[in-house]
Point group: C2
Chain length 389, copies 2
């Protein structure tokens, strides 16, 4: 195990009707003037907007609001949020939505105490000195942003989707009510499951030797996500118990605990980000396409780890099989899972313009090789995209 | 999954030579006048005491000290610590040791701001209003007290060992350096592994229906502990990598995450506490005796869960076997593990006076039935102790 520091102070409030606690939690964390940040109209249709507003009012909280966050959230809206917060002296941001809304809120939170442009953080030109505290009411199990120190924002002028890490980005609290997921389209649930698994795989396929416990926890989490996602998709509609498992898994997969004591990889996310930035591919779908391709490119150099994955996560029977064959069966099982829940596994299933592969590969390595299990250079990136065709 | 709130703010600093950070961490958390609390002389023999003292001095921290904590720590020493802290206006307690030292430090920390006797908390007569902050340098992977909200103290006048829960008891930071475990006797390592597994079993064998992810995490953790404990014991001495896995497992097993969304049980710990209070049985050994007995008493009423335990944790092959037989094989495997690492599994291997069974059973239920999977009354408690003979 490698040395590490782990701390995650986010308070998780999990269960039925917990969105009613949003106001009292904000008060506990010292908020008085709130920015309510959300996406499209879905929270108004479902009544969630009204319940949250009531909770804020009951607790005597003043608020302004900014809706309209899109998937792969834009830096332009972040900039608008920062202006709003500065003008209105906002001291707490409540994100009501999924990963995109939370990530947008996080970017706003570090921009409020910074004089320059918020994209500076994503360019590595600035570090936040302070952030407006954030709370979350989560509506989709996926990104894990509710208790992570990461935000991923798209600069629509530069056509770049990029992540930024800082302890300042950790939400103070996250409200997780699986009831809020009952109206989600099945494709979104599948994309969420893919995102959760991807967060785990980025921490699982790493070069760190001397590892045991964290592998076991990663494997257990992936088995649970696969089981519950398959159940929901086969049933054709979300049920509370399965969505509860997926929701808690989304948080644990990304709260840092599964990455303790090891290097993480994160190459595959970068492949996915390019597909989202250029062609608007949903994040989870970009990962169900790119993970099998990346795995096929790297497995031969890390055979034992891929054999372990196959045997433990998918119960591949190793009897009479060579290691290479076992490893390939594991990758095949993962692809079959994606297909079963309705996700694409090839670029040819999407509208992606294949002539852009060179451009995407160039962008991926624009700040040097990516990944840790295998260092991915531009030539590797091109081959991996081609494996995904 | 049941509704829950989860938050664990403890900062974990894991790795080689991390004890040197004790002073700077205390400073970060605002400490100026420190009580250094420890057990017997082992930390002086190994040089740990000197390294910690140096770290305090380098950071300009004033300190007093109180050693002498025994296993199953006594309330008398806690009272002495409270007097010392009050007289010297201590504002931070550093526990250097294992679960007993940490638990003693925790009890001191809540006693410092309380006018009455500290045992009041354990009798349910008082709630702490404030606590002196605590930091930990951990020397043995076992109790998980380094990031738990529990303390277990023995009242040597009343011959009662009792736990107390409060969020005020959570340490601010815990330093985990596996190098510090290299001089531990093998029996202590085995007892530690037993304690970690017991903390997990108390959260695993519960009546909560609709469960999946947390079961998987519990199972993965137990498999890792069993593997690494067996490896150390078979090798005859601790090695860094295995001890690192055990150390991180001890923390995760008891930081609350494995109990999310479910009722916990905790009957078996009470059986063990009586053996420790009356006969000084080491905590981990009391649990390797009492868990198999408790399991044999309750498994028939919860067959599916015990079958799952057998198949997943010990890979019991269910083919051609009835559920009852599979469940029993799982219990047998657990007993074999305990025996393999040198732990007792029967009261008859110890100096326990069997004529005291009635008295112990009486004490266990003195505040009502215990446990959640099965409610244990006095008559059940007697039968469980007899199964352990």
């Amino acid at each position: 195990m490698e040395d590490f520091v782990f701390q995650n102070t986010a308070k998780i409030i999990f269960g039925k009707e917990t969105e009613k606690k949003a106001g009292s939690e904000i008060k506990k964390f010292g908020g008085k003037k709130v920015l309510l940040h959300y996406g499209g109209g879905s929270i108004k249709k479902t009544g969630l907007y009204d319940r949250v507003i009531s909770s804020l009012r009951e607790n005597g909280l003043d608020f302004i609001e900014l809706g309209g966050v899109l998937p792969n959230p834009f830096v332009s809206l972040v900039r608008k949020g920062i202006r709003l917060c500065k003008e209105n002296k906002v001291d707490f941001i409540l994100a009501v939505g999924g990963g995109s809304v939370i990530d947008s809120a996080k970017a706003i939170s570090i921009g409020c105490n910074y004089e320059g442009d918020v994209w500076d953080f994503f360019e590595g030109k600035a570090e936040p000195e302070a952030a407006v505290p954030i709370g979350v009411v989560l509506t989709i199990p996926a990104a894990g942003s509710e208790s992570s120190v990461v935000t991923v924002i798209t600069n629509e002028d530069l056509l770049i989707k990029r992540g930024y890490h800082s302890d300042a980005l950790l939400p103070k609290f996250a409200i997780l009510n699986p009831e809020l997921t009952m109206t989600l389209p099945l494709f979104q649930i599948a994309c969420g499951a893919s995102d959760i698994i991807a967060h785990t795989l980025e921490r699982y396929f790493t070069p760190t030797k001397n590892r045991d416990l964290t592998d076991r926890l990663c494997e257990g989490l992936m088995m649970s996500v696969i089981k519950n996602a398959e159940f929901v998709l086969s049933k054709g509609k979300p049920d509370y118990d399965s969505m509860a498992e997926l929701m808690w898994a989304s948080t644990i997969a990304h709260n840092g605990i599964l990455g303790t004591g090891r290097k993480e990889d994160w190459a595959t996310h970068k492949f996915g980000h390019e597909l989202s930035a250029l062609f608007g591919i949903t994040h989870g779908a970009s990962l169900s396409i790119m993970f099998p391709a990346w795995m096929k490119y790297v497995y031969m150099k890390n055979l034992d780890l891929f054999v372990q994955f196959a045997e433990r996560v998918f119960s591949v029977n190793p009897e009479g099989l060579k290691k290479e064959k076992i490893a390939l069966k594991g990758i095949e099982c993962l692809e079959k899972f994606y297909i079963k829940v309705g996700l694409p596994t090839r670029l040819s299933e999407t509208e992606v313009d294949l002539s852009k592969i060179d451009e995407m590969a160039e962008k991926i390595v624009s700040r040097g090789p990516v990944g840790n299990l295998v260092k991915i250079e531009k030539a590797d990136a091109i081959k991996i995209y081609r494996l995904a065709i």
